[in-house]
């Protein structure tokens, strides 16, 4: 069953151009089938592993020798995030992508992206993780360049250079690790490393991994590509990039490698805390001066992912739960905001906030959903962002990190200020003239936005059962550290 997470999107990616040759329009059906079936699978996967983990050995070769796929609490959480946003983005794309040529290529790349993301999440083999990471990266480079305008191409090239540099560093690190422990199975590496003393080689690998994955997450010293690449992509793809891709091939892979394979120590956690603090403050300060709607959101992605990394770096159970819950929430509201920005772009053909205005009357549903998302990201109760930020702040004070806690509070306030700016300029301000012709976005785009807005409210109202049933098992996987190996190899 586990292999279906990769087989379905990969198969669809292959079939989409074939069926669209036979009869145009069928590629849309196939893409929707891909999204919905993956969402259903990822929801049902919570009932499969029941607190433990299930392991699928590819080709029947057992764990240390063959490639295995592993589903545990953390993977299940990430699968849910990936496929929930993926499914919504596909539904949104059905209307949105009409303004581009060659939609069948868009759907092909999108399915390929989903295959890569799901593969990264369930892979139990380090090199296999790298291969899926590259599939994801190549699909996202191509999707950023999809508009093929001069700005898109420039952004895509910047992303491509830095992304491939990151991949090279990760591959080098995998090579060094293989040279020192002679295995590529993640559990087996963890077992060999925990049996021996921490050596300089391991520390060097860790540094390379932090550089490589840090580039993919866009933590602040490595963030230069993100504010160009995320706005340049088509809106549903921006939602995927900000909501899912940086988290899966960046944050998830970093957490998995650092916590479950190499094992944490105080120095690494300190690095995470400081990278997180720098990212969240620098991101939000750069964001507040932006006038391009999507660019502003992209800077906020840096800031919010800073929260996640900061909370993970605290290393306490509450910090991990807060960080993972924020990761989940951020994927909901940031994707929703990018979809809103796409709807505004679709209807008004501009994303400059100072040229927009008065859209709350012309586009009531877009305005309402963007209000929900803005309040969520700013951390206003009862929306979902509030609870995760509260957990992170409590965890920071509990762990004795007073500076971090205060930075979290202040960044939250600045976030609120910058989203008040968005709401004021784009939606509530009264202006004459230019927006007279504006119509509300097409119906499928509205359905996708209302769906995500509903989830933002639900995740806020039902945050306690959500944390208990979905987030806690994921945090428990990280807490058990390198004992992760025993669960896989012992089975």
């Amino acid at each position: 069953m586990l292999a279906l997470f990769v087989i379905i999107p990969l198969g669809c990616a292959f079939l989409v151009p074939v069926v669209s040759k036979i009869r145009s329009g069928t590629e849309r059906l196939l893409a929707v089938f891909c999204g919905v079936s993956l969402l259903w699978l990822s929801l049902s996967s919570f009932f499969w592993f029941e607190g433990g983990r299930i392991i699928y050995s590819v080709g029947g070769w057992k764990a240390p020798f063959g490639i295995c796929m592993v589903l545990d609490g953390l993977s299940a959480l990430m699968l849910l995030v990936v496929n929930l946003i993926g499914c919504t983005a596909i539904i949104y794309s059905l209307d949105y992508i009409k303004k581009y040529t060659a939609p069948q290529l868009y759907y092909t790349l999108f399915c390929l992206l989903l295959a890569g993301l799901n593969g990264v999440v369930i892979s139990g083999d380090l090199f296999n993780l790298f291969v899926f990471l590259e599939i994801t990266s190549i699909a996202s480079y191509a999707l950023v360049a999809f508009g093929a305008g001069s700005e898109e191409l420039e952004a895509a090239f910047k992303y491509l250079v830095l992304g491939s540099l990151a991949s090279t560093l990760i591959l080098l690190s995998i090579g060094i690790l293989y040279g020192s422990v002679s295995t590529l199975n993640m559990a087996d590496i963890a077992l060999s490393l925990s049996a021996s003393q921490a050596s300089n080689i391991t520390m060097f690998c860790l540094a390379l991994f932090i550089m490589g994955f840090g580039l993919k997450v866009a933590l602040v010293p490595f963030h230069a590509w993100l504010p160009d690449a995320h706005p340049a992509a088509p809106a549903p793809m921006s939602a995927m990039l900000s909501g899912v891709v940086i988290k899966t091939i960046g944050a998830y892979a970093l957490m998995r490698v650092v916590f479950n394979i190499i094992g944490v120590n105080a120095a690494v956690l300190g690095i995470f805390v400081w990278l997180g603090i720098i990212s969240m403050s620098a991101g939000v300060l750069l964001a507040i001066g932006q006038w391009d709607f999507k660019r502003l959101l992209a800077y906020h992605s840096i800031s919010q992912i800073g929260y996640v990394i900061f909370a993970i770096g605290l290393g306490t159970p509450l910090g991990l739960i807060g960080g993972l819950f924020h990761l989940f929430n951020h994927s909901l509201f940031k994707s929703l905001l990018f979809l809103n920005a796409g709807a505004v772009d679709y209807s008004c053909e501009t994303r400059q906030l100072d040229k927009l205005g008065g859209l709350s009357r012309k586009m009531p549903i877009t305005a309402a959903t963007s209000l929900v998302a803005s309040l969520s990201i700013a951390g206003i109760p009862p929306f979902c962002g509030f609870f995760s930020k509260l957990l992170i702040i409590i965890a920071a004070f509990q762990a004795g990190n007073i500076i971090g806690g205060f930075v979290c509070v202040i960044v939250g306030m600045v976030t609120l200020a910058s989203f008040l700016k968005v709401q004021k300029y784009a939606f509530s301000r009264k202006v004459e003239g230019i927006i007279g012709e504006v119509k509300e976005a097409p119906v499928l785009m509205l359905i996708a936005m209302v769906f995500l807005a509903g989830l933002c409210v639900i995740a806020g109202l039902f945050s306690v059962p959500l944390i208990k049933n979905i987030i806690s098992p994921a945090a428990a996987v990280l807490m058990e550290g390198t004992r992760y190996a025993i669960g896989i190899l012992g089975a």
Binding site: F127, E134, I138, A142, A145, S150, E151, V161, S164
Partner: protein
């Protein structure tokens, strides 16, 4: 050991070229060099002086064999590198169509 050192130098040359050169085509070449250095590193990991191919034979025990796994990995990595390079070249060609230049200093519509 000196082989590994040379391999590292090759890798650093590639990274330098990728990050410092202003010409887009030279950046692609730099990426190619860095990629090959990593591939070479993998191959060196599996190399044994005077080693044999690791084919099990019933009659004689193999004592000194070359590790085949890095070679299998490198095949995958080369294919991935091909894909990335092809995408880079395609994007650079389209950039040239739009801007009529390969110089990165003149390609800056995005900033801030």
């Amino acid at each position: 050991m000196s082989l590994y050192l040379l391999c590292l130098i090759l890798f650093l040359i590639g990274i330098y070229c990728l990050l410092v050169k202003k010409n887009l085509v030279k950046k692609i070449i730099g990426f190619g060099i860095a990629e090959y250095a990593v591939n070479l590193f993998f191959i060196l990991l599996g190399y044994r002086a005077g080693g044999e191919a690791p084919i099990l034979d019933k009659h004689e025990a193999l004592t000194n064999i070359v590790d085949p796994l890095p070679q299998a990995l490198i095949l995958t990595s080369i294919v991935i590198g091909l894909g990335v390079t092809a995408l880079m070249v395609a994007i650079v060609l389209r950039i040239y169509d739009k801007y009529r230049t390969f110089d990165i200093n003149e390609i800056k519509k995005l900033k801030g």
